[in-house]
């Protein structure tokens, strides 16, 4: 019953999306009041129905209803409930349903919350939202029905990929999807503004919270995904330049650029066409991201669907959306009046440099990710990986860090290069001092050396906008910028430290044999079997000592899952203020020795701490802008 209920809700939501699109088009073309008045309520009900369908799917997974094909293929009755719950989107169909649910809810939220935009622009925005949703509904209903039944019902399910059986599954996909969808809302605003020829500060102010919100969630999703991969895969890596990771990085880069250009448009009425173009690019990247991952073109732990028919469907949707967006842009961009121009040395100039460098990095990541696919089309098999991305994007990223240090210290409209240099004296000193100290004390490689030195400079530069201000009276969005930029410095320092100073020890160790890794001496005390809900494991007891400190006990496991049959290594990580001790248990050999993989990673935690700071900065900025607008609205109402 629940499955049929969910399917019915999905069909109704799809029908309402079609109606929403038709009413918006009718209203805009004919200017009639009745269809325009209908768009908002339809958007709200559409979102509610999509959410009901998702709730039905979650209920089916929680109840382990083995008459539903999707549950059989991806779940097992013995799984802990949290993985039954999160497992609802740990598969192709469920994750697409989650996507469209978030999209529907976001559309509903726009319909309820947005009050600043002219009615026509808002209606066009909601129409664009419905158009996007319609493609996803069609894909779900015709090619990926999550509610298909199985007759006769199976006795039990096949289980969920053990790599996905982790609390990360409950958090990582929804946050990324909220980010993707938020970008699609921003794009819908851009479409709305293009359709009604209304690209200006009001549009920028309406779009900004959505861009900012999407960006916060993308940041959190990427940070969480990186840490998940770090502890789950068991080799101490935290970023692999894997196509699927790139698929989440590209929308983030585009959203970061958009976030900065939308500020220029909102405050100075500059960069009009460019901001709209970036909204189109950001949306295209989130579509490419979703579809690259979902189509199964890329083999990875994220690619659930490996079905050529679905691949073709997805490709068609991709072409329609991106092609449509670019066509609309090309058709209407002539009507967007050129925004205000400005001096090279100015805050606007700094933001243009930011956008230029971010776009180049985005282009490099996009080309590097797609190149092997295109080459394969020509019959050439090749791989593009970390060496290419580090060499091509690394130097540009460092240039971006420098721009980031300078930008916030620039004045709007026009600034003086000499005065700017005076303001930069402390950041430059910090960079030089850190670089010199590193070369003398512990020379790292070239890229980490630049990374650490510039991180120090950026850290100093990013707090400078607070100097001379009363911290209590400083607007919250300035705090947001400071914290986010500081987060980049913190994260960069963590990356550079990890790549330069990680100590690695791979050994076959006997019981009680001491093994050295970095400042620690690790001893294998013993191995014992342990049992979990749906796995059994061998667990090592390791005691690690640094100098005269008390021993840390770590328990890495080698886990065996029966449904499906898989072995995973569960790393054990001890976090200290100055880094992490990362331990993995491998197999035993004929002489009774055990494979141990040990890493001491100094300050590696800064990578994710920085990510959290970046997201926090975004949140502060969002709240700050909101409060300022509220205050302005109240003042207006009183006047």
């Amino acid at each position: 019953m629940t499955a049929e209920f969910g399917l019915a809700a999905l069909w109704l939501a799809a029908a309402l999306a079609a109606l929403q699109l038709a009413m918006a088009a009718l209203g805009l073309l004919r200017g009639q009041a009745a269809p325009i008045a209908a768009v908002r309520p339809i958007a709200i009900v559409q979102g509610a129905l999509a959410a009901l369908a998702m709730a039905a799917l979650i209920a089916l997974f929680l109840a382990s209803d083995m008459s539903v094909k999707l549950v059989v293929e991806n779940s097992h009755s013995a799984k802990p409930w949290i993985y039954k719950f999160a497992g609802a989107w740990g598969n192709h169909e469920g994750s697409m349903l989650l996507w469209v649910t978030i999209l529907g809810l976001a559309g509903g939220a726009v319909a309820i919350l947005e009050r600043r935009l002219p009615a026509a622009t808002l209606i066009a925005t909601l129409g664009a939202q419905a158009g996007i949703a319609l493609g996803f509904y069609a894909f779900l209903l015709f090619a990926s029905n999550p509610f298909a039944r199985l007759s006769p019902a199976a006795r039990d399910g096949l289980g969920l990929n053990p790599l996905l059986q982790d609390p990360g599954l409950a958090f990582h996909p929804p946050t990324l999807y909220i980010g993707y969808v938020g970008i699609s809302v921003a794009f819908s605003f851009a479409v709305g503004a293009l359709v009604t020829r209304d690209v200006g500060p009001a549009f920028a102010k309406a779009m900004r919270p959505w861009v900012l919100g999407a960006w916060i969630f993308l940041t959190l999703g990427i940070t969480a995904g990186s840490y998940w991969a770090y502890y789950e895969l068991g080799w101490g890596g935290w970023w692999f330049w894997d196509p699927v990771e790139n698929a989440s990085l590209m929308p983030w880069l585009a959203a970061t650029a958009l976030l900065h250009s939308v500020t220029v448009l909102a405050t100075r009425d500059g960069l009009r066409a460019w901001t709209v173009m970036l909204a189109v690019v950001a949306f295209s990247m989130s579509m490419i991201g979703t579809f690259l991952v979902r189509s199964g073109i890329l083999t990875s732990v994220h690619a659930f669907a490996v079905d050529p028919e679905r691949g073709a469907f997805i490709l068609a949707l991709l072409v329609i959306y991106i092609g449509g967006a670019l066509a609309l842009f090309a058709a209407r961009i002539g009507t967007v009046r050129a925004g205000t121009t400005f001096e090279l040395v100015s805050r606007e100039g700094g933001l243009v440099l930011n956008n230029l460098l971010l776009s180049v990095i985005l282009g490099i990541v996009l080309i590097g990710t797609l190149y092997p696919l295109v080459a394969a089309g020509f019959g050439v098999q090749l791989s593009v990986g970390p060496p290419f991305f580090n060499k091509a994007a690394g130097p540009i990223a460092l240039a971006l860090v420098m721009a980031m240090a300078v930008g916030p210290l620039l004045r709007w409209r026009r600034d003086d290069a000499g005065a700017l240099l005076d303001r930069l004296i402390w950041p430059i000193a910090a960079t030089g001092f850190t670089g010199a100290a590193l070369i003398v004390l512990a020379p790292p490689g070239l890229l980490p050396l630049f990374g650490l030195s510039l991180a120090a400079g950026l850290a100093v530069a990013s707090v400078l906008p607070l100097i001379g201000r009363n911290p209590w009276r400083t607007p919250l969005f300035i705090w947001g910028m400071v914290v986010a930029h500081l987060g980049i410095a913190v994260s960069l320092a963590g990356m550079a430290c990890d790549s330069a100073y990680t100590a690695e020890t791979l050994v076959a160790a006997r019981i009680a044999e001491p093994v050295r890794v970095g400042p620690y001496v690790v001893r294998l005390d013993g191995i014992k079997p342990v049992v979990g809900d749906n796995w059994s494991a061998l667990e090592a007891r390791l005691s690690a000592r640094r100098g005269d400190d008390a021993a840390i006990v770590l328990r890495p496991q080698s886990r065996y899952f029966s449904d499906p049959v898989t072995t995973t290594s569960e790393s054990a990580i001890a976090t200290r203020w100055d880094g992490q001790l990362y331990t993995v248990l491998g197999q035993s050999d004929a002489q009774g020795r055990w494979q141990l993989r040990l890493w001491w990673k100094p300050f590696v935690t800064l990578i994710w701490l920085g990510g959290a700071l970046i997201a926090l900065g975004g949140a502060l900025s969002l709240v700050g802008r909101w409060r300022r607008e509220r205050r302005a609205a109240v003042r207006e109402a009183l006047a």
């Binding site: 895969l233 080799w235 692999f240 083999t299 990875s300 400005f342 100039g349 180049v360 282009g363 590097g368």
Partner: protein, 135 residues
């Protein structure tokens, strides 16, 4: 002490190692004694693709084939071979697919020139938003 790397190479060349039941080669999960050589091997392994995995380098894969390739890289480095020579040997055997660092050539020049082209195009686009100083 100096003889076993060669033994490992001989072993790798035999079909027995293709059998997943065979215990992993010793150097698959242990490091070289000389830290400089191990660092060389580590840097090379991070840029070689595990050809049976889902987009992982041989430096961070549990697959037995990746283990065999790690053993091969370490034993050849220990024998004094240069990293680039080992990469060339592997590319000759498995094709360009095996290296994450695509060599500059007929099929890859657009890839390697793309960053410069992007910077040039970007700079040209950005110029249009600035006011001319002379005006």
């Amino acid at each position: 002490m100096r003889r076993w790397p060669w033994l490992a190479i001989v072993l790798l060349a035999t079909p027995a190692l293709a059998d997943p039941v065979t215990p992993p080669a010793r150097l698959a999960y242990t490091q070289l004694r000389d830290p400089a050589q191990e660092a060389q091997a580590r840097a090379l392994m991070a840029t070689l693709r595990c050809v049976v995995c889902q987009g992982q380098s041989i430096a961070d894969s549990d697959a037995s084939m990746a283990g065999d390739m790690r053993a091969l890289v370490r034993s050849r480095i220990a024998a004094g071979e240069r990293p680039e020579a080992i990469r060339t040997w592997l590319v000759a055997r498995y094709g360009d697919y095996v290296t994450y660092d695509p060599p500059f050539g007929a099929a890859t020049w657009p890839l390697w020139l793309a960053p410069i082209a992007l910077l040039a195009v970007g700079a040209a686009v950005a110029r249009s938003s600035f006011r001319r100083r002379a005006r």
